[in-house]
Structure formats: C-alpha cells, structure tokens
Symmetry: C2
Subunit: 216 residues, 2 copies
C-alpha cells in the first residue's frame, strides 16, 4: 500500500497555477483580470454556485495534463522539459498572462503583460514573443473547441509594435470547423481596444495525442 | 580624464558572443557549424586573409548595436531588457543557434538546437519558439539586405513537429525588394534536408530606428 501513497512529488504536491495574480501584475493587468474573473462562476448570497459566461483557465509549466499513465507518465515526470511560455520563474520578467474562455460565444481572451526579457526591437516586444502568445491563445482555444490539435498555419500581420512592459489584450474567435480543421482568428490590441497591434488567422489540425507520445 | 576612462562596464568589457560553440552543442550542431564556418573568411598559408562565401554573424543578448549615443545610449545600458532568444544563460536549455550569411547568393542559414525549456506539445518544440527562430533569421536577413526593418507579416506553415533536443536548419532567401518592402522565404528542415518542418513567407518594412527610440 505504501507504493500507492508515495506518489512522486510532482503529482502529490499541487503544481503552481501561473495564471493567478502575483506581485508583478500592474494595475492594468489586475483591472482586466478582475473584469473577466468577476464574470466567472460565482457564489450567490444563498451560497449556491451560479454559472458565469467566462471561465478562467489554469496554467502550469509542464505537459502534465497529457500524462495518462504508464511509461509516458513516468517519462514526462522525469523530464526536465518546461512549457516555453512558463520557463522563467522570476515574476514579471517574461510572459505574465491569463486566459478566459466563453463557451457560449466561442471566444477566448488573454490578458498579457510583456516583461523585460522579451525584447526584440529596442524597447519593444520581439515578434516571436508576440507569435508565441498568439499560438498559445489560439491553440488553447482550438483545444477547448476540438480536443487535441497541432498548429498547421499561423498568418500574422503585425500592425504596430508593443512597448516592453505594457499589458495587451488578445481576443480569439472561432471562424469555422471543417472535419479535422479548426479555423481561428486572433486580434491583439491595447487594453481599451483603440490600437491594433496585430491580426492573425490560424489553422489547427486535430491529432491523436498518442502519436506524439509514441512518435517522439 | 577619469570620467572618460571609467566607461560603464557594459561598454568597456567585451559582451559575450552567444553564437560561438559551447559545451551544450551536440555533434550535429558542431558538424554543421564547422561546415559553414570553414567557408568563412580564411587565412592562407602566406598569412593573407582570403574571403569565403559565408560570414558568421555574432549574437549578443542586448540591443547594444542600436545604441548611437546620448540619452538613448544611457537608457539602453541601464535597461534590464534582454533579447528574447538570449534571455536564458544556462547553455543548451533554450535557444542555441548561429547564423551565417552569404551575400552573393542573398541567402542566410541558421543552425538551431532546441533545448528542453522550449516545450509546446509534449516532447516537442512550441510553435511559438519555432516562429521566434523564423522571425529572428528572416528579420536578421532582411536587416542585412535592407537596413533596419520591422516584421510586417509572417505566414508560417507547420509541416511536422520538431522533437525537443534536435538540431534543425533554417534557410532564408530573398524573394524580392519593392520600395520599403523586403520579401523573404524561410524553410526549416532536419539537418540532412530530408524532412521539412515548416515553410514561411515573411514581409519586412524598412524603418527609421530613431522613431522606435523616440516613440517608446
């Protein structure tokens, strides 16, 4: 029986949820977080749970959610691999972000605060860091809509540079589903929506996760 | 006179060139590095320099090359900002890469070894990390060809996933130049070219760097 209670610490201790506020989140990041978080599942005065239109998605720094048991599980637990967007632990230094999904409207939003380690052009966010957030948001959205997927195409139009340190909004919406294909659009704007930073169309293909785990 | 000799250490000490081999580079990375490096500028037996078709580009973790003096220079030196692709110092953990340019053929190649901190799908490189390398290689190539530019469009087709830890080749070539526009194509393959990982077209717009520095 001991063998069962002595699970590896990666499983028995609760992993950190990176999408909860930390001390590095600025006023703009907090304000937008509160806006969407207040529209998530709520408790009424009578103590009952009331469903809200939005749902906050937790975010970890490992691919644990794909661990389904046996050899793959142990391979993943032992691996040093870390999710690209969560590989720097210093709060506020790189990607600070939180995703909310709205199932009814088939929309997803992400509030993203860009840290000083994401520099591309002097004083501004690297185009690759922006692409990384776009892939993350549209890929997560496609997974919510269609199950496991891989990115097949990203077509990104960069409209205006994002200053390092700023908070921006990524809004993702479903265009259509066709067989294995899920088409998503994504817009990156400043927090009041008055300035467009980029516009993207993305295509995702549904996959069988076991192929990835076996195919290595 | 002291004031002049006591330059900030960021200027007086030579910054690390990240595109030189380190102990984390695997045999495949080293083999390809040697292939292109041996075709760079060489010294003949008589001690004369002989020009080769390729040129290795150095790579730093700060935007120092844009520092042209005065208030901007001091702003950049004091800044904590680091280049996105060079923000992790642990060798081999994230992006290990080196770029070579061939002016005559208007081509650029990048040898890229993907570390364990770049995970997206379990065991494979994040689509955003691939996009980051594509933006880096095509953007650097466009800068060599056209001077300072900003990314205007990246259209990336992902053909097959890249296993974490592997070394891949990025090949960038000029399609055309039209006024302020530079059109570049980029292919990512395995090291013998038998497997295509992604194909990209990219558009860059020539800019005046001072706008970025002033505009913040």
């Amino acid at each position: 029986m001991r063998a069962i209670t002595e699970l590896p610490s990666a499983l028995s201790s609760k992993p950190r949820d990176f999408s909860l506020p930390n001390s590095s989140w600025g006023p703009e990041m907090m304000r937008l977080y509160e806006r969407y978080n207040s529209q998530c599942e709520m408790e009424t005065e009578g103590g009952e749970k009331q469903k809200g239109p939005w749902k906050r998605l937790p975010s970890y720094n490992r691919a644990l959610k794909f661990a389904t048991g046996g050899v793959y599980l142990s391979k993943i637990i032992q691996s040093k691999a870390r999710l690209f967007t969560r590989n720097i632990r210093d709060p506020g230094a790189a990607f600070e972000y939180v995703l909310f999904v709205n199932s009814e409207e088939q929309k997803c939003v992400c509030i993203f605060q860009a840290g000083h380690l994401l520099e591309g052009p002097p004083g501004h966010v690297h185009g690759g860091a922006i692409a990384t957030m776009i892939d993350t948001v549209t890929g997560t959205h496609a997974t919510v809509l269609s199950g496991p997927v891989m990115t097949a195409n990203l077509n990104i139009n960069y409209r205006s540079p994002i200053p390092l340190g700023s908070t921006v909004l990524l809004e993702s919406s479903l265009d259509k589903k066709e067989g294995r294909k899920t088409f998503i659009s994504c817009k990156v704007t400043n927090t009041d929506g008055s300035k467009v930073h980029s516009e993207t169309t993305a295509l995702f293909l549904s996959i069988n996760v076991s192929h990835l785990l076996l195919g290595g």
